[in-house]
């Protein structure tokens, strides 16, 4: 650019572009950097602080001086130096840090662009797995597990996490700080959990990925960091996990479930952002490559021969929908069987309600209505708007329109969603009375 103003714009562009590069490197490297540092300094919270300091330094230096040839090594080396400096200041240069200082001196050329890895290839996968288990430790409240996992494993900044969950940045930072304190106070070991705890701890990790996905899946709006991106982030985390513990079928099953659910993103809302129900979605707009990946992941989970857990059963249901050409051609009997299995594995009235809908599709609305009425008698779903809404649908299919109208109005009273209310009121209004 010829004008000084133009030159400024170019300089700003260069800074912004370098910043985006730092963030890209961070997303790729943060898990390995924090995992390596935790192993080296023996303290997860301190490792995370050091990694964040190195990141801040990169954000300040790289736009000015250029990005180093091996950015992951640069960040790790800077963080290790900061650890040594801190301990020198505190006059506590113990053996661990003396070792680290010695090692760093040997690795000076990292700065000048060696392609040597800054971490031990033999242990890095285990270290990242330890990191995942630490971030999702059951001692932490769910929202802290989510914030910590996205930050250290996913490499998202606090700003990105805040935007994704529509909460203040300070809230995210507070959750991370508190979580690190809790982990330190409880002296949580940096380890892959022992066999007897492994399944339940893995369950906690999978729940975190599932909740992150749902946060992205339930939303229909967003700007810079759109909500489908959050769902994609959950899928990325689950893929990482499936590579770290390839022998665990429930990880593959969750991956299958998320891929199959995400395959419907493009078809879930209309041009005005209004949600479209599964039955009314244009199935040709589903992502059929993604469906194939989901089906393959489920087949790999099944191949382990350990039976289907809760995620595999849900993935199986999602698969039935995903491979069907229409609602009419869906294998509803299979879906009923999968809901039966899910209900006996993890009993829940919501599963029962979904099963009743599937029964109505397989055996007719009268059979479904009978199950819905049994659920109403149990009073387990009092105040749940979908219960009268489903009952209304079934009644209207049975041509019992007056009763259906009452149910739709009851559902409209109960829902907190304005769009859903409008749809229900319309349904109640347009049905002709018998």
């Amino acid at each position: 650019m010829a004008t000084p103003d133009g030159a400024d714009v170019t300089a700003q562009d260069a800074v912004a572009s370098a910043r985006r590069r730092v963030e890209a490197v961070w997303r790729i490297e943060s898990a390995r950097i924090v995992a390596t540092l935790t192993r080296v300094v023996g303290d997860f919270g301190l490792a995370e602080d050091l990694a964040q300091e190195a990141l801040l330094l990169a954000l300040a230096q790289w736009p000015r001086d250029g990005v180093p040839p091996n950015p992951g090594a640069w960040l790790t080396t800077v963080a290790k130096r900061k650890a040594i400096d801190m301990h020198r200041r505190n006059n506590r240069l113990d053996d661990r840090h003396a070792d680290m200082a010695h090692h760093l001196a040997e690795q000076q050329r990292l700065d000048t662009g060696s392609d040597e890895l800054p971490w031990d290839p033999e242990t890095i996968d285990d270290d990242v797995l330890r990191l995942v288990f630490t971030a999702c430790h059951p001692i932490l409240p769910r929202e802290s597990q989510i914030a910590l996992t996205l930050r250290v494993v996913g490499g998202l900044t606090s700003e990105e996490i805040a935007r994704a969950f529509m909460i203040p940045v300070a809230t995210v930072q507070q959750r991370v700080v508190r979580a690190k304190k809790t982990i330190a106070a409880a002296e949580i070991p940096f380890e892959v959990p022992p066999r007897k705890e492994f399944d339940s701890r893995l369950g906690s990790v999978l729940s975190v990925a599932y909740l992150i996905f749902n946060e992205g899946y339930a939303a229909t709006s967003g700007t810079a960091w759109t909500r489908p991106d959050l769902a994609n982030e959950a899928i990325r985390l689950t893929r990482i996990l499936s590579a770290l513990v390839p022998e665990e079928p429930e990880v593959l099953a969750l991956l299958a479930l998320l891929e199959l659910q995400a395959s419907r993103f493009a078809a879930r809302v209309d041009a005005n952002g209004e949600p479209i129900l599964l039955a009314d979605q244009d199935r040709s707009r589903w992502d059929h490559h993604q469906i194939r990946r989901g089906c393959e992941a489920l087949a790999r989970a099944d191949a382990a021969g350990r039976g289907r857990g809760a995620y595999a059963l849900q993935a199986g249901i999602a698969e039935c929908h995903a491979v069907a050409a229409s609602t009419a051609e869906t294998d509803w009997a299979q879906i009923v069987a999968l809901y039966d299995a899910l209900g006996s594995l993890a009993p829940s009235p919501v599963v029962d309600l979904n099963r009743a809908v599937a029964v109505a599709m397989a055996d007719g609305p009268a059979a479904g209505l009978q199950l819905v009425d049994e659920l109403i008698a149990k009073r387990a779903l009092d105040g749940y708007s979908l219960l009268p809404s489903v009952r209304g649908e079934l009644l209207s299919r049975l041509e019992r329109h007056d009763e259906a109208r009452i149910e739709f109005l009851a559902a409209a009273e109960l829902t907190h969603n304005e769009r859903e209310r409008a749809v229900l009121v319309e349904k109640a209004g347009v049905r002709p009375s018998a």
């Binding site: 963030e23 890209a24 490197v25 997303r27 790729i28 590579a243 707009r285 992502d287």
Partner: protein, 142 residues
């Protein structure tokens, strides 16, 4: 966002004497493994030598089919990767890590989503149907 990395090598690429192909295979294997472990790899394939292939030239009607690579081609496509990242910069970071040597290059292209085209066009509508058929032709387990 989805990106395709297209590997291109010059037709006249000199292969030095005593060149260790095992080393290349190992390096590529490690690269692919790193993409899988990072959860970004969607697909990837290597292509058999261009001599095995053929070219369909549309300069004349009907088109002319000739064996082997395009006679005037200076570069050959040897393989591709399809990856999914949240930003262009992240795709660039991964592309730079590909273990290729001097003379070779990686062309990185964003994969378009069908949603980006005019939705009223009948062929855009048809493309959804084609994708559906292509995507669901595979039998599934269960």
């Amino acid at each position: 966002m989805k990106y395709m990395f297209i590997m291109r090598t010059p037709v006249e690429l000199e292969i030095p004497e005593g060149f260790d192909f095992t080393e290349i295979i190992n390096a590529m294997g490690a690269y692919n493994e790193s993409l899988i472990k990072a959860g970004v790899l969607l697909a990837g394939e290597g292509l058999a030598p261009a001599e095995e292939g053929f070219v369909v030239d549309f300069d004349s009607t009907p088109p002319v089919v000739t064996d082997g690579p395009y006679a005037e081609a200076k570069e050959l496509f040897n393989g591709f990767w399809m990856i999914q990242t949240s930003t262009k910069e992240e795709a660039a970071e991964w592309a730079k890590r590909c273990p290729l040597g001097p003379g070779t290059r990686l062309e990185v292209r964003r994969v378009t989503e069908t949603e980006e085209f005019d939705q009223s066009n009948e062929y855009v509508q048809k493309e959804y149907e084609w994708r559906e058929q292509l995507g669901s032709d595979k039998p599934v387990a269960g």
